[in-house]
C-alpha cells in the first residue's frame, strides 16, 4: 500500500534509511545533505531504528566508520556533499576495492572554489572513477526509489560494490514535493536481511580486510573489481524489475523520454531533466520531433544502450552539470560521444556545460538548445562543440 506524503528529497532519503534500518551510520554534516543525518539522528533518538549512529570529526572518518562496519559484516550508510565527498576521496577507493556494499547518499553540490553551497555535479563527478556505482535522481520520488534499490544492488553476490545515491542539492534535496512512500514492511522485505559471506566478526573464518596487495596480486584484484562493475549492470536491472513489480514504477539505466521518433535529443542527468521534459512537451505540441535521455545510472555507464537510444537522432546535445576542465567538454559528454563512436551513422554531438554553482536553468533555456540542434541538423554545421549556457560574461 502506497502512502502519499510530501517530503523534501533529503527527508525522502532519511525515510528510506529509517525503513531499511541499517546497522551503522557514519555521520558528519555538510550543506546541503545535513538534513539527512539530522532527520536520521531523530529516528535514532526516538527509537525508530536500531542503527548505531557514529558522529565523527570529518567525512574521511564517517566513511571509515562505514568501512569498519561493513568489514565486520554490517550494513552501513552515510550522507555527504561537495567538500565532504572530496574529503572521503581516499576512503571511497578503499571501500570499493574492499568490495564493501556501503550506501552513500549524496546531495550534490559545487566544489570549491570559489566556495559555493549550491548545486552542480562536480562533487559526484570527481568520484566517478572511484569504483562506486552511481545512480542519479530527477526528483524526491526517484531518489527515494533509488535508495530502496541500493542495498540489494550493492549486496548482489557477484557485485559487492558500494553505491552512491545522488540527487541535486537544494533543487531537490530542499524542495518539498508529493511522494509515494512504501510501507516500512514492504521496504524491509524488498531489501531483505544482509547475510555477508565473509566478514571480520566470524570466528570460524579468520580473515584480513584491506591488507597490502603486492604487485603479484594487485592487478588481478583490480580486474575482478572491474568485472564486479560490469556485473552491476544486470543487478541494477534485476532490482529495477523487482521494484516495478512492487510499485509499478519503472526504472532502467536511463529514461528515454519521447525518443521513439526523435531527431533532436538532449542527454542529461538530475533535476533539469524535469524542466527539459516540459520543453520537450511544448515543442512536441508544435510538431517538432524532440526527445531526451535522462541518465539514471552513470556508473556502470550504459554505453551500448545509450548508443542504441540515440542512433536515429540527427543532433544531440549532452548537458554536463560539471566543468571537467578537460578543455574539450564535461564527463557525460566524453562518455556519450564515446558511446556514439561505434554507430555506423552517428548524430552530430555538442556539449553544453550548464547550471554550475546553482545557476538556474529554465524551460526557455532548454528550448533554445533544441533550436540550436535544429540548426545543426539543418546545416550539418556543428559549430562550437563545447560551450557554456547561462553565462553572463562570454569568454
Amino acid at each position: 500500500m502506497a502512502h502519499l506524503d510530501r517530503l523534501s528529497g533529503n527527508e525522502a532519503v532519511a525515510v528510506a534509511m529509517r525503513q531499511i534500518d541499517p546497522d551503522v551510520m557514519g555521520a558528519f554534516p555538510i550543506t546541503p545533505s545535513t538534513e539527512i543525518p539530522q532527520y536520521f539522528a531523530q529516528y535514532v533518538a526516538d527509537g525508530l531504528v536500531n542503527t548505531e549512529l557514529v558522529t565523527v570529526e570529518s567525512e574521511h572518518s564517517s566513511m571509515s566508520v562505514c568501512m569498519g562496519a561493513a568489514a565486520a559484516g554490517g550494513r552501513a550508510i552515510s550522507a555527504t556533499s561537495s567538500a565532504g565527498l572530496a574529503l572521503m576521496y581516499e576512503t571511497l577507493y578503499v571501500a570499493a576495492s574492499c568490495r564493501m556494499p556501503i550506501v552513500l547518499a549524496v546531495s550534490t553540490r559545487a566544489l570549491s572554489g570559489p566556495i559555493n553551497i549550491n548545486n552542480d555535479h562536480s562533487d559526484a563527478m570527481g568520484a566517478r572513477d572511484s569504483g562506486w556505482i552511481q545512480i542519479y535522481a530527477e526528483n524526491n520520488q526517484e531518489v527515494y526509489d533509488n535508495y530502496v534499490q541500493a542495498f540489494p544492488i550493492a549486496e548482489t553476490e557477484n557485485v559487492r560494490l558500494p553505491v552512491m545515491i545522488c540527487q541535486d542539492g537544494f533543487i531537490t534535496s530542499h524542495a518539498v514535493e508529493n511522494i509515494e512512500l512504501l510501507e516500512d514492511a514492504e521496504v524491509k522485505s524488498f531489501v531483505g536481511t544482509y547475510e555477508p559471506k565473509h566478514y571480520l566478526l566470524n570466528p570460524d573464518e579468520p580473515l584480513a580486510v584491506g591488507p597490502y596487495d603486492v604487485t603479484h596480486y594487485y592487478m588481478e584484484h583490480k580486474r575482478q573489481q572491474a568485472e564486479a562493475m560490469r556485473n552491476a549492470r544486470a543487478a541494477i536491472l534485476a532490482q529495477a524489475e523487482r521494484f516495478e513489480a512492487l510499485t509499478g514504477r519503472k526504472y532502467g539505466f536511463f529514461e528515454a523520454y519521447k525518443m521513439d521518433d526523435a531527431e533532436l535529443a538532449l542527454v542529461l542527468m538530475g533535476s533539469t531533466a524535469g524542466t527539459a521534459k516540459a520543453a520537450v512537451d511544448m515543442l512536441r505540441a508544435e510538431g517538432r520531433k524532440v526527445g531526451l535521455v535522462k541518465i539514471r545510472v552513470f556508473r556502470p555507464f550504459p554505453m551500448e544502450e545509450l548508443a542504441e537510444a540515440l542512433k536515429n537522432c540527427r543532433a544531440v546535445a549532452v548537458m554536463d552539470k560539471s566543468e571537467g576542465f578537460s578543455a574539450c567538454g564535461g564527463p557525460l559528454f566524453a562518455e556519450t560521444r564515446s558511446a556514439l563512436y561505434d554507430l555506423e551513422t552517428r548524430p552530430k554531438a555538442i556539449n553544453i556545460v550548464y547550471g554550475l554553482g546553482g545557476r538556474d536553468v529554465a524551460v526557455d533555456d532548454v528550448r533554445a538548445l533544441y533550436d540550436r540542434l535544429a540548426d545543426i541538423a539543418a546545416t550539418g554545421e556543428t559549430g562550437p562543440v563545447y560551450s557554456h549556457i547561462g553565462v553572463r560574461e562570454e569568454a
Binding site: R6, P32, I117, N118, E138, N139, D168, F170, I171, T172, H174, A175, V176, E177, N178, S271, T272, A273, G274, T275, K277, A278, D281, G358, D360, V361, A362, V363
Partner: protein
C-alpha cells in the same frame, strides 16, 4: 505534462523571518487539499536579515519543472523594506496579486511597485503578530493572507489543516498553538485590497 491550472507563488523575505517556513506550510496546506505541490527556497549566503526568495508551484498534476519561478501569479513580500532593494514585481502576472506586509494601504504602496497594474493587497502582519503573540513572526499572517487572496486552497480546509500542522510543529510547545490560530484568522479578516 499538463499544468494548465498551475498557480505559482514567489516569496520575498529576510533570513530569519520565516518566509521559507511559510512557503513550506503553503505546500503542506495545498498537499492536504489534494494538490501536487512544490515548495522550495533559493539559498544564497545564509545571513540573518539578508533578502531570501522561496517558491511554490501548486497544481492538479505533478510538475516536473525544477527551475525558479520567473512569472509568478502571486508575490508575497514579508518585509516591506525589500520594496526599495528588490524588484519584487519582476514578471508578476497582472492577473495575479502582490501581498505586502505593511501598515500602509494598497493605494499608498502602489507607487512603489514599478508600475505594477495588478491587484495590490496589504496586511499589517507585524502588528497582528505583536498584538497576539507578543513578538514579530510575520510568516503565519502572511501565509494566511496569501491563501485568502489567491484562493488556491479552501479557507476552512486551510484553517483546520493549519491547526493540525501546528500541533505537529509545536508538539513541544503547545501553548503557542492558540495564538498562531488567532493570528491566522485575524490576518484573513484584515487583509486589504
Amino acid at each position: 505534462m499538463n499544468n494548465q491550472d498551475m498557480v505559482e507563488f514567489r516569496w520575498h523575505g529576510r533570513g530569519g523571518q520565516g518566509a521559507k517556513t511559510a512557503c513550506l506550510l503553503l505546500a503542506d496546506a495545498a498537499f492536504s487539499s489534494g494538490k501536487y505541490v512544490q515548495g522550495f527556497p533559493e539559498y544564497g549566503p545564509e545571513r540573518s536579515g539578508a533578502p531570501i526568495t522561496a517558491y511554490n508551484r501548486i497544481s492538479s498534476e505533478r510538475c516536473g519543472i525544477h527551475s525558479n519561478i520567473y512569472e509568478p501569479d502571486y508575490v508575497i513580500v514579508v518585509d516591506e523594506g525589500l520594496l526599495s532593494c528588490v524588484d519584487v514585481t519582476a514578471g508578476l502576472k497582472e492577473t495575479g496579486a502582490i501581498i505586502i506586509n505593511s501598515s500602509r494601504t494598497p493605494d499608498e504602496l502602489r507607487a512603489h511597485l514599478n508600475g505594477y497594474q495588478g491587484r495590490v493587497c496589504t496586511i499589517d502582519a507585524n502588528r497582528i503578530s505583536r498584538d497576539i503573540l507578543g513578538q514579530v513572526f510575520p510568516n503565519t499572517p502572511m501565509l494566511a493572507a496569501a491563501v485568502k487572496v489567491s484562493g488556491v486552497v479552501d479557507v476552512d480546509k486551510f484553517t483546520s489543516d493549519m491547526e493540525e500542522s501546528f500541533h505537529h510543529k509545536f508538539a513541544s510547545k503547545p501553548q503557542v498553538i492558540e495564538g498562531n490560530m488567532k493570528v491566522l484568522k485575524t490576518s484573513m479578516e484584515e487583509v486589504q485590497g
